[in-house]
C-alpha cells in the first residue's frame, strides 16, 4: 500500500479502505448467491447419501445408505461410459470453443469495413433460444430434408441420406458443432473486450521493436489476456461439461442411450426414475469432475498464488 503521511482522518479512511470496503463490496453478491443456492446444494449433498424417491421428498423420510449411490454410479458400466464420454466430449467442445472464439476475437480486433456488422453476426448464435437453435440444427442435419447433407452431396461427397444421429460418433459431432456454435460467441466477445483493454502503445512498442505478428501475439497479447483467458477456459469447461439442452433436443441421449452425457443421465435418474439419491450422487460426481478439471487448469497456468 502506498505510504502516506499520518493524519487521524486519513488513517481511519485507510482502515476503512483496506478492511471494511472489501467486505462491503463483496457482501451483496455473496448474500445473493449463497442465500438461494446454498441450501439446495447442501440438500443435494445430503440426498446423495440417502435412498430417496418422490415419496420421501413429500414425507421427509429417507434412509441413510452411506456411499451406495456413489458405488452404484461408479460400478454401473453404462454410467462409467457416460462419465468417460462426458469428459472427452466436454474437452473437445472446450478446445473447439476456445479456438474458434480466439480466432474470431483476433479477427474482430482488426479494423476492417463492416466490423460492427460482423461482431453482431458473431453474437447472434448466442442470442438465440437454445432449444430453438438445437431444433434448427437438427433439421439442418436431417438425413433427407437437411441442408448439411444436401450441400455436402452437391460438393460431390456421398452424403445423400446420411443419418447423423443413428450412431454415437457422427451424432456427437453434430451436437458438438451446435454446442461450439452457441458458446464461441461469448468467448469471442469477452476476448475481444480483453484485446480492446490492452493499451495500443504496448503493441506499437513491440511492433517498433520488430516483433512479428506471431511474436506479438505470443509474448505481448497472450500474457496480458491471461487472466481473462483463464476465466473463459474455466467457464467454458463448466458449460460444456454440463451440456443438456442440445443433447436433449437432438438425440435425447439415444439411440439406445449411446449419446447420453452426465447431465442427461442425472436428469433421467432423478426425474424419470425418481431416484433422487442416485441423481444427487451423479450431480456430486459432476461437481467433483469439474472441480478437479478447474484446479488442473489453474495449476497448469501457474496461477496458484492468485487463488
Amino acid at each position: 500500500m502506498t505510504a502516506t503521511s499520518v493524519s487521524p482522518g486519513r488513517s481511519w479512511r485507510q482502515r476503512f479502505d483496506t478492511r471494511i470496503l472489501p467486505v462491503v463490496l463483496v457482501t451483496p453478491a455473496m448474500v445473493l448467491i449463497t442465500g438461494l443456492i446454498g441450501w439446495p446444494i447442501l440438500r443435494t449433498l445430503w440426498l446423495s447419501f440417502r435412498e430417496a424417491g418422490l415419496r420421501s421428498l413429500t414425507t421427509g423420510e429417507s434412509d441413510f445408505v452411506g456411499l451406495s449411490n456413489y458405488a452404484e454410479a461408479l460400478s454401473d458400466p453404462h454410467l462409467r461410459r457416460v462419465v468417460l464420454v462426458t469428459l472427452v466430449f466436454g474437452l473437445l467442445c472446450v478446445v473447439g470453443t476456445m479456438t474458434l472464439g480466439m480466432a474470431a476475437a483476433l479477427l474482430l480486433n482488426r479494423p476492417f469495413p463492416g466490423r460492427v456488422f460482423v461482431t453482431l453476426a458473431v453474437l447472434l448464435p448466442w442470442a438465440m433460444p437454445r432449444v430453438a437453435a438445437a431444433t434448427v440444427w437438427k433439421w439442418m442435419f436431417n438425413d433427407r430434408y437437411g441442408f448439411v447433407n444436401w450441400s455436402l452431396s452437391n460438393l460431390g461427397l456421398d452424403f445423400d441420406g446420411y443419418a447423423w444421429f443413428v450412431s454415437p460418433l457422427p451424432a456427437f459431432f453434430a451436437i458438438g458443432v451446435v454446442v461450439v456454435w452457441q458458446s464461441f460467441p461469448f468467448v469471442a466477445i469477452s476476448l475481444l473486450a480483453g484485446l480492446q483493454s490492452i493499451p495500443d502503445d504496448v503493441i506499437d512498442a513491440a511492433r517498433i521493436d520488430g516483433a512479428s505478428a506471431w511474436q506479438r501475439l505470443r509474448h505481448v497479447t497472450m500474457p496480458m489476456l491471461k487472466p481473462v483467458l483463464l476465466v473463459l477456459i474455466v467457464l467454458s469447461t463448466i458449460w460444456d461439461f454440463k451440456v443438456f439442452d442440445q443433447v436433449f433436443v437432438m438425440t435425447g441421449g439415444g439411440p439406445a442411450r449411446s449419446t447420453e452425457v452426465l447431465s442427461i443421465a442425472t436428469y433421467r435418474e432423478a426425474f424419470t426414475q425418481l431416484d433422487f439419491g442416485l441423481g444427487s450422487a451423479l450431480a456430486m460426481l459432476m461437481f467433483a469432475i469439474l472441480a478437479v478439471v478447474t484446479v488442473i487448469y489453474i495449476r497448469l497456468i501457474k496461477e496458484e498464488e492468485e487463488l
Binding site: 449463497t34 453474437l123 483493454s197 487472466p227 463448466i238
Partner: protein
C-alpha cells in the same frame, strides 16, 4: 497486492527476443503484406459470418415459408411466397405480454447484477477480502452442479421466501445464478488493468471507492459491456426457472411462451421460427446499444494519461 502483468514488462520481452530479426526489410514490404492481411481478414470475416448466421437465416426463411415448403426432400432455399402472416399470429398469441415480462426481468437483472458483480469482482481482483480464495471458489462451485437436480430444493426455498409466481422471484433467482460468472469475468478484466493508474488517483487524494468508481470502472468498460451482454442473454434465454417458478400465464416470459407452439398433437414449426426471430431482436438492440463500449479505443488513451 494483486499481481498483474505490468505493460512495460511484457512489452520489454519481445523487444529482447527480436533484436536479431531484420526489422528494416519487413517494414519495406509492409504495404504489400498489409494488403494480403486485409484480404485474409475479410475472407475470415465472410467465413465467420456464414457459419454464425446461416442457421439463423434458415430459421428466418422457414418462418416465412408456406407450410408445404417447410419439410421437403430438397431444401427450399427461397420460399415461393412470403407468409408474413405468421408474425401477426405470433404477436396475437400473447407475445407482447411475455415480451414486457421478459424485458422487466432481464433489464432489472442486468442492471443489478452488473453493479453487484462489478463491486465483488473489483474487491476480489484488487483488495484483501478475508477468505478471498475460498469465497472465489465457492462462487465458482455453485456453477458446477447440474441445475435440474437442484430444482426441487430451489422450488422449496422460493416457496418459503414467497417468491413463486411473481417476477421478483425470477429476478432474484437469475441474479444468484448469473452473478457468480459475472464476478469471475469482471475480476479477470480488473486484474488486467495496471495498478499504477489507480495508485495515481490515490496519491491525488481520491478514496479507494472513488478511484474504483471513477478510474477503474471506466477503464474496464469493455469488460463490463461483455459481462452485461452475458447477464442479459443468460436471463433472456432462461427457461427452466421461468417455467417452474411462474405458472401464471400473465407473468410468463418469452422462452416459456415459445413452448406454447409445441403441443400434444402437433408442433407449429413455422410459428416457432417466427417467434425465435422476434425473440432474438431485443438482444440485437441491446448489443447495438453496448457495442461502442465494447470496442472503443478510449481505454488506451486513459492508460497513456
Amino acid at each position: 497486492m494483486a499481481t498483474i502483468t505490468p505493460p512495460t514488462t511484457s512489452a520489454g520481452r519481445p523487444a529482447a527476443g527480436t533484436t536479431t530479426s531484420p526489422g528494416a526489410r519487413r517494414r519495406r514490404r509492409k504495404s504489400g503484406r498489409a494488403l494480403v492481411g486485409q484480404i485474409a481478414t475479410i475472407a475470415g470475416a465472410v467465413a465467420l459470418v456464414s457459419f454464425s448466421v446461416f442457421p439463423l437465416l434458415w430459421m428466418f426463411i422457414t418462418s416465412v415459408k408456406p407450410d408445404s415448403e417447410i419439410l421437403t426432400s430438397a431444401p427450399v432455399l427461397w420460399p415461393s411466397s412470403w407468409q408474413w402472416s405468421r408474425y401477426g399470429e405470433v404477436i396475437d398469441r400473447g407475445f407482447g405480454d411475455a415480451l414486457v415480462n421478459s424485458l422487466i426481468v432481464t433489464l432489472t437483472v442486468t442492471l443489478l447484477g452488473i453493479v453487484v458483480a462489478a463491486f465483488a469482482g473489483y474487491a476480489f481482483a484488487r483488495t484483501h477480502v478475508p477468505l478471498k480464495r475460498w469465497l472465489l471458489l465457492v462462487v465458482l462451485a455453485t456453477q458446477m452442479f447440474p441445475v435440474v437436480v437442484m430444482i426441487i430444493p430451489l422450488f422449496t426455498v422460493m416457496r418459503s421466501l414467497g417468491l413463486l409466481d411473481n417476477l421478483v422471484g425470477l429476478v432474484v433467482s437469475y441474479l444468484s445464478f448469473t452473478t457468480p460468472l459475472a464476478i469471475w469475468i469482471l475480476r479477470g478484466f480488473f486484474r488486467g488493468i495496471p495498478v499504477d493508474v489507480e495508485e495515481a488517483a490515490w496519491v491525488d487524494g481520491a478514496t479507494r471507492f472513488q478511484a474504483m468508481w471513477r478510474v477503474v470502472m471506466p477503464m474496464a468498460g469493455p469488460g463490463i459491456a461483455a459481462a452485461a451482454i452475458f447477464v442479459f442473454i443468460a436471463a433472456w434465454n432462461e427457461f427452466l426457472f421461468a417455467l417452474t417458478f411462474v405458472k401464471d400465464e400473465a407473468r410468463q416470459t418469452l422462452p416459456v411462451a415459445l413452448q406454447s407452439f409445441v403441443g400434444r398433437a402437433s408442433t407449429d414449426y413455422g410459428g416457432i421460427m417466427a417467434f425465435s426471430v422476434l425473440f432474438t431482436l431485443p438482444v440485437v438492440i441491446f448489443f447495438l446499444f453496448l457495442h461502442t463500449r465494447l470496442t472503443d479505443g478510449m481505454v488506451a488513451g486513459a492508460v497513456k494519461g
